[in-house]
């Protein structure tokens, strides 16, 4: 899976990272409750840190998790 992601065209990789950045911005904008926002951003930061640490969580999975958190932040 990671090797497959590595083979994606550069433009596609940049688009995926851009989606993650945009999603982060959207969470900041959309979530009105401050503690919910903090929880969501903490979760996203944790996921991003794991990526930065080279643990290689597929970006698709992170995006999916964030969508779920955004839909149901109390979960």
């Amino acid at each position: 899976m990671r090797r497959e992601l590595a083979q994606l065209p550069f433009e596609e990789k940049i688009r995926k990272i851009g989606e993650l950045i945009r999603l982060r911005q959207k969470i900041k904008t959309d979530v009105s409750n401050a503690s919910e926002e903090a929880d969501l951003l903490a979760s996203l930061d944790k996921a991003s840190a794991e990526l930065d640490a080279g643990k290689g969580i597929p970006i698709e999975r992170i995006r999916e998790n964030i969508r779920e958190w955004a839909k149901n932040p109390k979960k």
Binding site: I14, G18, D52
Partner: protein, 168 residues
Amino acid sequence: MSEELSAIPLADVLRAANELVSAGLIEDYALGGALAAIYYVEPFTTYDADIIFITKDETLSTGVPAIYSHLQSKGWRVERGHLMVNDFPVQFLAASGLAEEAVRNAKPIVYEGVPAKVFRPEYIIAIAASVGRHKDLARIEQLLKQAKIDKAVLDDILQRYKLKLPNQ
């Protein structure tokens, strides 16, 4: 930020870097840092772009202000030392030594129709080995696993710059 704008306006960044070369403000440049690594490995989050450039003359002080001035005249903002294009931070870093060699040997690419150059993976690994932070070591591991590395080229660079990979 408008939804139409890319969160990472890399084509704009590369276009601007090409303009700096055409305007004679820099000799050459290449994409370095995390975005260069992403060219070869799976995508991971990054929040800025590093453009590594070779100065036109020996006096760095004349080069950097000219770059900032030129890009500000094109609508780029400066925030906390970063040049910003569409709210995305870009660092222009003057190259010397290993980084200068990396620019001179960078791989030509075309990104969204814009010609550019990106550091070759052997140089990204060597530069990461010279910096040695946790994330640099992770980057080395990632490149060794996922990118096609010319071992002879890598060994030559490491030897000439007296660098070692982790666990070597």
